[in-house]
């Protein structure tokens, strides 16, 4: 068999493996959509019938009115947007420092940054709770935002990898012209790092949008809930739940990260540089 035809055979096998997998991957989403447009009786039917009959569009209206999900939606948006801005800024600054500057203690600090990846959140959770309680931050969004303004090890690493791949000559010239470190960072590095900024914004937004444990601990007032907290409480407080409404709200809850993903998708792969040049 020639090389060309062998290549083609591999690709055909790959497609044969990938296509049935698509059914598996899409199944939960299909069910979610089906349930969101169905009446409750139809969901509890054997055999399952995924085609809504009749189509019920009012589930969305009812779902969002059932608990103040509209408000939760705004709360989650507010937290995620502020967190993304602060965290991207901090991570890019730290990544720039690690990639392009020399200083005593740098290697030790970098190991320290990476080692925080191993730290379970539950270890810091309780003292953080005590600190935030003393500061009067319980039932505010500050505990969900401010601790992330350290940048986060994974994102610092992403930015560092990217900045290291930018040729030295580019910045050397600017440095000789007397451009400050901040000037180089702000006017040269940040504009170049658009793919990393996009990739990390998407990932941070997702992290923030789906976070459950922290809102669970720090938010007690109903009106302050985030979308995941609202959904989780919704499930636990209503024994036989109105699943059609839950699914309608779930679609709404899934929309922002999905839309953001489609907008920034092309950067996601190019923004993650894992090899070192």
């Amino acid at each position: 068999m020639g090389r060309r035809s062998r290549e083609r055979l591999y690709k055909a096998i790959a497609l044969l493996l990938l296509l049935p997998g698509i059914l598996w991957v899409l199944m939960p989403t299909v069910w979610m959509f089906s349930a969101a447009f169905s009446r409750l009786e139809q969901i509890m039917r054997w055999p399952p019938d995924l085609w809504p009959d009749p189509w019920v569009f009012s589930n969305f209206y009812e779902g969002f009115a059932f608990l103040p999900f509209g408000r939760y939606f705004m709360n989650s948006t507010q937290i995620a947007v502020i967190r993304v801005m602060g965290q991207v800024l901090a991570a890019s600054m730290a990544g720039y420092a690690f990639a392009r500057m020399q200083a005593p203690g740098k290697n030790l600090l970098f190991i320290l940054v990476l080692s925080t990846l191993m730290l379970p959140y539950t270890v810091t959770m309780i003292p953080q709770y005590i600190i935030f309680q003393r500061l009067g931050w319980i039932d505010t969004y500050l505990p969900l935002i401010i601790p992330h303004f350290d940048g986060g090890a994974f994102f610092i690493f992403l930015f560092r990898q990217f900045f290291r791949s930018i040729p030295d000559e580019l910045t050397e010239a600017a440095r000789l012209d007397g451009c400050s470190y901040f000037g180089i960072y702000w006017r040269m590095m940040l504009p170049l790092s658009l793919p990393v900024i996009a990739a990390s914004s998407i990932l941070i937004f997702q992290n923030s949008w789906q976070e459950l444990l922290q809102p669970l601990i720090f938010l007690h007032d109903n009106s302050k809930y985030t979308i995941p907290l609202g959904l989780a409480r919704f499930r636990s407080s209503y024994g036989s739940s109105p699943w059609h409404l839950i699914m309608a709200v779930s679609i709404g809850a899934a929309l922002p990260p999905v839309v953001l993903f489609f907008i920034g998708q092309r950067f996601l792969l190019s923004g993650i540089v894992v090899s070192d040049k």
Partner: protein, 310 residues
């Protein structure tokens, strides 16, 4: 920033020596957000948590030093061992499955085939959806009477499927299946690594007569081995800390069969207000993770190659 260094050096002309100082000062200024955040929300809490682990503390009256009592209590606590067993069982089964399927999927998604972009997007979709949302959907898919899983089992094999989430025997399988559905981040990192393997390596291997398996073992795996190590460690660390999916899917039930470690930590801390006990528990997990990570790093010398470097 540069002004500060110039003043420090005491003149309009910048002496040569101050260049290194300027760089170091700038380094620490750029790193200031991380350092401050690390001190306030990580370093100090780690120490505080260690100290709290030796106290009885309910968040209202001041902490009471009790020595090793928390650890002795946990040693005798059946539920503690149960939660540890649940978590370790899950990790031992789930992590290898996840790692292998992520790598295989990434390799398939790396082929140049028409419409691959769309296929990639579809496969990544589960990881974009919020965990709480997918958890809610899976509750219903696993439903014994109306769920799609049991419907397919019946249609395909005429099997009457189990009551997945309501049975002590099956709940762990359900948790693992739903976890494998969202492979997500690991796949992307593998994919990025695969795209960085120079094509010439494969061509050279092919000229030497290497078949597809040879190329996988002798080119792909060594070239991306640092990324395999990274994904392995992250998968391990995360699966020991599973919380959200379980909180939604089973809340630890039935009869503690899916009572993961962090669920118990959370309950002790915020449902029963035993903050000292919960701190001790959290620290035990931390030490366990440290040991496993060191073990992974120690043994990695044999199979991880840094020729490409990460």
């Amino acid at each position: 920033m540069s002004g500060m260094a110039a003043v420090g050096a005491g003149g309009v002309e910048r002496p040569r020596l101050s260049l290194r100082w300027r760089e170091a000062i700038n380094f620490y200024l750029f790193l200031a957000p991380w350092i401050l955040g690390f001190l306030a929300f990580t370093a100090i809490p780690i120490v505080a948590s260690l100290i709290l682990g030796f106290t009885k503390y309910n968040a209202i009256s001041p902490p009471d030093f009790v020595g090793l009592k928390n650890f002795r209590f946990l040693y005798d606590d059946q539920i503690f061992w149960k939660s540890l067993r649940v978590t370790l069982t899950y990790t031992v089964v789930f992590v290898p499955l996840q790692l292998v399927s992520s790598l295989l999927l990434a390799m398939l998604l790396n082929l140049r085939v028409p419409s691959m972009r769309t296929i990639r997007t579809i496969y990544y979709l589960p990881s974009i959806l919020p965990t709480v949302v997918t958890g809610l959907v899976w509750i219903w898919l696993f439903n014994a009477d109306f769920g799609l899983i049991n419907f397919f089992l019946y249609k395909a094999f005429e099997i009457r499927g189990p009551n997945w989430l309501g049975s002590e025997r099956w709940v762990m399988s359900a948790v693992i299946i739903s976890g494998l559905w969202a492979l997500g981040g690991g796949v992307i990192i593998f994919l990025a690594a695969l795209q960085n393997v120079p094509g010439e390596f494969y061509e050279a291997a092919e000229l030497d007569g290497a078949n597809i398996l040879h190329r996988f073992w002798h080119v792909t795996v060594p070239m991306i081995s640092p990324v395999i190590l990274y994904n392995l460690m992250i998968a391990m660390i995360l699966s020991l800390q599973v919380f959200t999916r379980i909180y939604v899917l089973t809340q630890g039930g039935p009869n503690y069969a899916s009572y993961f470690y962090n669920l118990y930590v959370y309950d002790n801390a915020f449902s029963y207000l035993k903050l000292g006990l919960a701190s001790a528990q959290a620290w035990i997990l931390f030490v366990l993770i440290l040991l496993l990570t060191v073990l992974a790093l120690r043994t990695s010398g044999r199979w991880v190659h840094y020729s490409g470097g990460v």
